[in-house]
């Protein structure tokens, strides 16, 4: 409980996050190297898709992260609205560009994979479409936060928006799925419905953990910057800056 309270104060968050950053970065790089090695050299070649299926080791974890981060942001938004916790706001705001980047990565890798597999960069498949609208939800949050000058007000506004978005996300996903199955039929399904070889599953899981640690690492870096910017008029930030300058 005491740890929780300390994490809620910007000053202690700044310090604790600073201690965690090297660990998160280190674990991320170890997992990344391991995951890339497994996915590029150990995992067998797919009998149907050849080598190009290997992009799923980036694509699928990125798509998972895109939803996971939005969920984290909605939880942070709820915490901020109920308890007015400054750090929840910082986490929400710092997460948004990372989530948008993962969503973008999932879309780009998906379309790179789609070109040789489906013969087209883009199809209006249910998953692609809902991922695209997820990207718009992220961009909306980033844009709203940027548009409001007072950052505390902006933080609360994006908290509401994140919650509204998380209620709508399943509805959007469901409706897009309905739309797709009615009009296009299931011409394509990701993964081909086949069960996975464990030698393929392992790099996938390793990569997804690597991405989680990457998120934690970059989130803490961004959150620390956000804290410094917001608290720039407080004495502890001044001491910190002056202490380092001398």
């Amino acid at each position: 409980m005491r740890f929780y309270h300390r994490l809620a104060s910007p000053r202690h968050f700044y310090r604790i996050a600073g201690q965690w950053i090297p660990w998160l970065a280190g674990i991320f790089f170890v997992l990344l190297v391991w995951g890339l090695y497994e996915s590029l050299f150990v995992a067998p070649t797919d009998y149907q898709q050849g080598e190009s299926y290997r992009i799923i080791f980036i694509h699928v974890p990125a798509a998972w992260m895109s939803m996971f981060i939005y969920f984290i942001m909605a939880v942070a938004g709820a915490i901020n609205l109920v308890w007015r916790m400054k750090m929840a706001e910082v986490v929400l705001v710092a997460s948004a560009p990372i989530g948008a980047a993962f969503t973008f990565l999932a879309l780009v890798t998906g379309s790179l994979w789609g070109k040789p597999m489906w013969g087209t960069w883009w199809v209006w498949d249910a998953r692609l479409t809902s991922e695209l609208f997820l990207l718009f939800l992220y961009l909306g949050i980033i844009a709203l936060y940027g548009a409001i000058e007072d950052k505390r007000t902006a933080g609360r506004a994006v908290s509401i928006l994140a919650l509204v978005g998380v209620v709508n996300l399943p509805i959007i996903h469901f409706s897009v799925e309905w739309w797709n199955t009615l009009h296009q039929g299931s011409t394509v399904s990701l993964m081909g419905g086949a069960k996975m070889d464990p030698r393929m599953l392992r790099p996938l899981l390793v990569m997804s953990f690597a991405f989680k640690f990457y998120y934690g690492w970059v989130l803490f870096l961004r959150a620390r910057n956000e804290v410094l910017e917001r608290e720039r008029n407080t004495s502890w930030v001044r001491e910190l800056v002056e202490g380092k300058a001398t």
Binding site: F133, F136, G140, A143, I160, V164, I172, V176
Partner: protein, 229 residues
Amino acid sequence: MKPSKLSLGSAFWLLLKRDLVLAMRRRSEFINPILFFILVCALFPLAIGSDPNLIRKIAPGVIWVAALLASLLTLDSLFRGDFEDGTLEQYVLSAHPVSILVIAKVIAHWLITGLPLILVAPLLGVLLSLPAGATGILVLTLALGTPVLSLIGSVGVALTVGLRRGGVLLSLLVLPLYVPVLIFATDAVNTAVTGIPVTAQLSIIGAMLFLALALAPLATAASLRVSLS
């Protein structure tokens, strides 16, 4: 401050009546969106050619997208005037729950901007050569769907009302949330063209209406508090 003697019900009606009277005094507020709606629909045949079969095929989508844009354009007027003259702060300070007052404002706004769209939709159906049966369904989907648009939009407006140029931002916030209504409404009309019953789609839009009616006013009220702080 002494709590106001006005009951919640009469506050609700007074607010609704006030907004309608204000709109009647400025007719352009509800005539311009209709003109916009008709104009956008009239642009499509010019852009894609006059083949009646093609026009009939895209008619439901065109009419719905035009309705979506018309609703988006009028959203800003929902709270703008009240925000500028300070009335909005009085609502938030009043003894009544803001979410209920928000419902009154959204209903008034929908009567001014949503209802006229429904009334001219049959005309557009004729212009874009929709079959009569499908036009009936089109009117039904608009009747169920446009209130959802107003309710969802009210959250976006409440978030951006304090900003000087919130227009483009508003569309970025609100349009992705309009997707489910658009999908089910156009699907209902497209299905109706082929003569298959569309009760499933209509029920789902109805469900969205009730969900939006229950949740959107709460989010709008919270957003107004943030915007006014």
